[in-house]
């Protein structure tokens, strides 16, 4: 049953690569924005919060189209980046960008909540012991927020793996370049006798999703043990 054709393997491999890159690259931005939203009061905070959450509520096709007109070759940012040799449109990097944007609100929410749950008096204690702001963040805040950061990464990874609408709108559905697992399943369901291939990929998707859940449980428990056990 699970004898995947090379094309199907390519779709699986591409999906994993896109989801991993989208999660890892958006992580530092996610941590920075979550920290800003959790700890700082500034002009435009509500606006930033709204923009970050927009992909969660907008139809994915709209997000994909906005990405297309912004990061496409003729787009405002896309034309500039193309001069620097960075191209998103119809490349797997564009798929990673679309997945990263779609997953971003989930990443930021989880990390922000864990920042807000940290006792800030511990950061005060760190500063009386000689830790400057960035050091206190790296040695106290971030380690204590680790379970939330892991939860956010797993959510973002899952979202990125399953992203469909924004990706297909922005970078289309090109086998070997932008055809992810979801897009491949969709394609197989649209052609005659594609059911077996679609089912094989569905099983792969379930296995990956379960593995991600188990891994996150394991990491979260390990991180949690560090605070309560000895």
């Amino acid at each position: 049953m699970l004898n995947l054709t090379p094309d199907e393997w390519t779709a699986v491999e591409l999906s994993l690569r896109i989801a991993v890159v989208a999660t890892v690259v958006s992580l530092p931005f996610g941590i920075a924005i979550a920290w800003l939203l959790a700890r700082k009061d500034f002009w435009g905070k509500a606006l930033l919060d709204g923009v970050v959450h927009l992909p969660l509520v907008l139809p994915p096709v709209v997000t994909g189209y906005l990405l297309l007109i912004t990061f496409g070759r003729k787009g405002l940012v896309g034309a500039f980046l193309a001069d620097l040799g960075i191209v998103f449109s119809f490349r797997w990097t564009g798929a990673a960008l679309a997945c990263g944007v779609m997953a971003f609100p989930l990443l930021v929410r989880a990390i922000r909540l864990s920042f807000e749950a940290i006792d800030r008096r511990l950061e005060d204690a760190a500063s009386t012991l000689g830790a400057s702001g960035p050091w206190a963040f790296l040695t106290v805040t971030l380690p204590l927020a680790l379970p939330g950061v892991i939860a956010g990464m797993v959510l973002a990874f899952a979202k990125a793996l399953g992203e469909f609408g924004a990706t297909i709108t922005f970078v289309s559905n090109i086998p070997g370049e932008t055809q992810t697992l979801s897009a491949a399943i969709y394609t197989f369901t649209q052609i005659p006798n594609g059911d077996a291939a679609a089912m094989r990929l569905v099983i792969i998707a379930i296995v990956i999703a379960l593995a991600a859940l188990v891994a996150s449980e394991w990491f979260a428990r390990r991180a949690g043990m560090r605070y309560h056990g000895d």
């Binding site: 204690a125 760190a126 000689g130 040695t139 056990g229 000895d230």
Partner: protein, 242 residues
């Protein structure tokens, strides 16, 4: 209220070089703190009822709260001066603080908690000093544990050790026994007395318990309603009772 200075002890202070000078004003909502006092090393108590502003004053000395106006100086170093816009950040003041709730880092072992201040202050490792403080506070058996597995008294002893091991120029103890029951208090008090005699670090000891102060301090600054009501020797404690 004008601080009393007729007391023989405070006359003696005047002749010595001033160690810590505090003259701060801070508005906190409806509450106004306006405190001025000097201490001359050793152990000084900030004594007064709950809500009198003792913790606010200590936070300003440590750099965790910024005064609206005033001046704080430790020996020759100006830590805060609103006139010259000087404000040394907390992490560069080298003032150790022991908080009421300990505030140990829950994700680090006791050993790493103890070493944190030395590490962050960029001091060279000093195993002899570390051993001395660990012995002084009897926390050698706890080093590999995490704070979640310590009793309240153990936690406070580790917090005291952590503050001492950054080699502070001044140690602030903000009601360090308030969260402990009577038996635990009796357990910690001898360590604090040893600390005062052996560690030779000047201490500001915040408490509303006259008994603790009697055990540890030689000078008293009485705080009432955000202001210094009196400064002097231990007999101020008796006046407060009557």
């Amino acid at each position: 209220m004008i601080p009393k200075s007729g007391d023989r002890f405070s006359d003696k202070i005047m002749l010595q070089k001033s160690m810590l000078l505090v003259d701060v004003e801070k508005r906190l909502g409806e509450f106004q703190v306006a405190a001025k006092f000097e201490t001359a090393g050793g152990a000084t108590a900030l004594f007064g009822p709950s809500g009198a502003g003792k913790t606010s004053i200590v936070s300003m000395i440590g750099g965790l709260l910024t005064p609206d106006r005033g001046r704080i100086a430790l020996d020759d170093t100006v830590l805060f001066d609103s006139a010259t816009r000087t404000d040394v950040p907390a992490h560069r003041r080298r003032i150790g603080t022991v908080f009421q709730e300990g505030r140990l880092f829950p994700h680090m072992t006791v050993a790493r908690n103890l070493d944190y201040g030395r590490w962050m202050s960029g001091l060279a490792a000093d195993p002899a000093e570390q051993d001395r403080i660990v012995d002084l506070l009897d926390i050698g058996a706890l080093l590999e544990r995490r704070p979640g597995r310590l009793s309240g008294g153990e936690r406070q002893r580790v917090a005291i050790g952590r503050a001492l091991l950054m080699k502070p120029r001044l140690l602030l103890l903000d009601e360090p026994l308030a969260s402990l029951d009577r038996a635990r208090k009796q357990e910690i008090l001898p360590y604090l007395a040893r600390l005062r005699d052996d560690a030779k670090v000047p201490m500001i000891y915040v408490s509303h318990q006259a008994g603790e102060i009697q055990r540890l301090c030689s000078q008293v600054v009485r705080i009432e309603d955000g202001q210094v009501a009196a400064t002097g020797g231990l007999k101020l404690l008796d006046e407060a009772r009557s």
